[in-house]
């Protein structure tokens, strides 16, 4: 092999892709050994490949955290056979660390002198790979308090002694605690509490306890602690540490809980599809929020992306769109972009709502611009951070991550509601004190209104 040459180009590319054969690998290594120029060029090429692979570049602010959460929160939890070959770095590392640490989030244990008691049984295993390759567990085995189920891939079904049935989807780490409770350290589970004894089944996650009041819910936990709850039947109470407020999530609703002391929750709901913007629990667009244009407290502007909408000001005008396909009344990007709201001074924010609506006049399944997908950041200082930097590198606080398609489990176009609202709140009614709010938008959604509720700091009154 020579340098430069097509053979060299192909060998390095194949090495990056994992398709290089032994003979080519040996020849490439011989070349690298003999030729310092080839070595430097090789290192530069794999550096670009590695930088892309590490997801470290600021590609429209898609962070590795978001991608990791996407993998955990996918609507269809069953992995495809081909997808198993590549595991997202943070996901794999997260799982490894969860195991190495033992108890990741230091949640108080319920197990005491009842260690050894059988609390559940493994009833079904599908395409299982255990994280410990020497694991010999089989369907039918009993599970006692103090055991952890650590799935690298595939799915397992458990039957708790209370009658509750749980499906666990790898990668996941689950620890049954009692005959009617379990701790989910990472991954995704689906619970069916259909017997009288299983009412009140409690699922602990790093930041919450999900207490089942009805019959079925799905829960997912990302390695960084972001939790998702989706209720398909009945109701679930969300008990968070440090607050007496207990949000109740009903059938058809979902809730994200961000990691962190504030217990920021995100609720996403489907609207009735009328100009009144009626939602099950989220209030319609308001002209009485702190950021409303009429109050002249706040301003909004586009900070990056190809903006196509008429003006971002429509987001602060107190109303949503007047009809289902109204680009002139919407603020939207071709694909990705960023909105910045300046509240004039740092205020204590209690709630942030966003609304979207898009339904093509004649093509029923065309609701492409209805999905809400963004990451929201806040900054409390008066000097705006450098907006060319990634927000997490520039000092912004990440408030919430929103992906309504995940929440609605959109598999087909018609699964996506045409009218949507997203409401972000703190567990004790306080998201934090911020002057600037930055929406890093993904997807070209027709946003109609953003409402920011809050009060100035006491010293300002």
């Amino acid at each position: 092999m020579k340098f430069p040459s097509i053979d060299f180009d192909n060998a390095v590319a194949q090495l990056c892709h994992g398709t290089v054969n032994d003979e080519v690998l040996v020849r490439l290594h011989e070349l690298l050994q003999a030729d310092p120029s080839a070595r430097d060029e090789y290192l530069w090429r794999v550096e670009v490949h590695g930088k892309l692979g590490a997801g470290q570049i600021d590609f429209q602010h898609l962070s590795a955290d978001e991608a990791t959460a996407d993998r955990i929160f996918e609507g269809d939890p069953r992995p495809t056979a081909t997808a198993l070959g590549r595991t997202y770095t943070s996901l794999a590392v997260g799982a490894a660390l969860v195991i190495a640490i033992g108890v990741y989030w230091n949640i108080p244990s319920n197990s005491d002198d009842s260690t050894g008691e059988v609390v559940a049984q493994l009833t079904e295993l599908n395409d299982i790979q255990w994280m410990d390759s020497t694991e010999q567990t089989a369907a039918g085995d009993s599970i006692t308090i103090g055991e952890r189920i650590e799935l690298a891939s595939g799915s397992a079904e458990l039957r708790f002694s209370s009658g509750a049935r749980m499906e666990v989807f790898g990668p996941a780490i689950l620890q049954p605690l009692t005959s009617n409770s379990a701790r989910l350290l990472m991954g995704q589970v689906q619970l069916f509490a259909e017997t009288p004894e299983s009412k009140g089944f409690t699922l602990q996650t790093p930041s919450t306890n999900f207490v089942d009041i009805g019959t079925a819910f799905r829960a997912a936990v990302a390695p960084d602690g972001l939790c998702l709850l989706e209720v398909s039947e009945g109701e679930v109470d969300v008990v968070m540490q440090g607050t007496e407020v207990v949000p109740r999530v009903r059938a058809g609703e979902s809730l994200y809980v961000e990691p962190g002391e504030r217990g920021v929750t995100t609720r996403i709901e489907q609207g009735e599809g009328t100009p009144a913007f009626q939602f099950p629990t989220i209030a319609p667009p308001s002209s009485e929020d702190y950021a409303d244009r009429a109050l002249a407290n706040a301003s909004i502007r586009v900070v990056h992306g190809q903006f196509i909408g008429h003006s971002a000001d429509v987001l602060l005008d107190g109303t949503g769109q007047s009809h289902q396909d109204a680009p002139q009344e919407s603020a939207f990007f071709e694909r990705r972009g960023g909105f910045l709201i300046d509240l004039g001074k740092a205020i204590s924010i209690s709630r942030i709502n966003s609304y979207s609506w898009h339904q093509h006049e004649t093509i029923e399944e065309h609701r492409n611009r209805a999905q809400q997908r963004f990451t929201l950041y806040g900054y409390s200082g008066d000097d705006l951070p450098d907006l060319t930097l990634r927000p997490d590198k520039a000092g912004w606080t990440r408030i919430a991550r929103v992906n309504s398609d995940q929440s609605f489990e959109v598999q087909q176009l018609l699964d996506r509601p045409a009218q949507q609202a997203c409401s972000i709140t703190g567990s004790d009614g306080d998201i934090g004190q911020f002057r600037y709010l930055l929406w890093e938008i993904r997807r070209g959604t027709f946003y109609g209104e953003i409402d920011v509720y809050g009060t100035p700091q006491v010293s300002d009154n």
Binding site: D9, V12, A13, Q14, L15, C16, H17, G18, T19, H29, Q33, R39, Y42, L43, W44, R45, V46, E47, V48, G50, K51, L52, G53, A54, G55, Q56, I57, D58, F59, L62, A64, A67, R71, T80, T82, A83, T87, Y88, T89, S90, A92, V93, A96, L97, I99, A100, I101, G102, Y104, N106, S109, S111, D132, E135, T137, D141, G146, E147, R148, E150
Partner: protein, 183 residues
């Protein structure tokens, strides 16, 4: 199943600190490993093993110094062990080439970092279909078979496209750097 002793092996405050520091530096450690073992799936496996080693050694970490170089030292050891167990990689280890590559990368890192400052702008110059491919392969971690199916192309064509896009990005970066030097 695994026995849970219910006695955390690590102080909770240290766990939190380790996770915070490691996750902030994880990508840099991955890039370091990729220089030696470019296939991402292999490199990720090595980083995963490195994470566990680093956690065990975390009490030896000097907080006044940057984490990444310390972590990369252990990553190199884990990479060596990984190579030693694979016949096709043993030669790289035994010839000393792995050490040479690691050393040379250290020498070039500042230069590479300066060049890579242009990567984002160059990425934005790519046509949308090429950005989508990079997004799918690198960020969404889709497998090549799926990407081929989605775009109705062959697996080989996807690999060729990725090779071509990376070359375009390198050309763009080098051009931007030359322009920068003339200003």
């Amino acid at each position: 199943m695994n026995e849970n002793t219910d006695q955390p092996r690590f102080n909770p405050a240290d766990q939190q600190e380790f996770l915070r520091v490691f996750l902030a530096n994880e990508r840099e450690i991955l890039r370091y490993v990729v220089a030696l073992v470019p296939n991402l799936a292999d490199a990720q496996e090595i980083v995963q093993k490195t994470a566990v080693v680093l956690l065990e050694k975390f009490d030896q970490y000097d907080r006044s110094r940057p984490f990444a170089p310390w972590g990369c030292r252990f990553a190199l050891n884990v990479t060596r062990q990984w190579m030693a167990r694979r016949a096709r990689w043993k030669a790289l280890l035994e010839s000393g080439l792995a050490e040479e590559l690691a050393l040379r990368r250290d020498q070039l890192q500042a230069e590479f970092d300066a060049r890579l400052n242009h990567l984002n702008e160059c990425m934005n110059k790519l046509p949308e279909n090429q950005r989508d491919l990079i997004d799918g392969y690198y960020f969404q971690q889709s497998d090549v078979e799926s990407l081929a199916g989605q775009t109705k192309r062959t697996v080989e064509a996807i690999y060729k496209s990725l090779q071509r896009i990376r070359r375009q990005l390198r050309d763009c970066i080098e051009s931007a750097q030359r322009e920068e030097a003339t200003v």
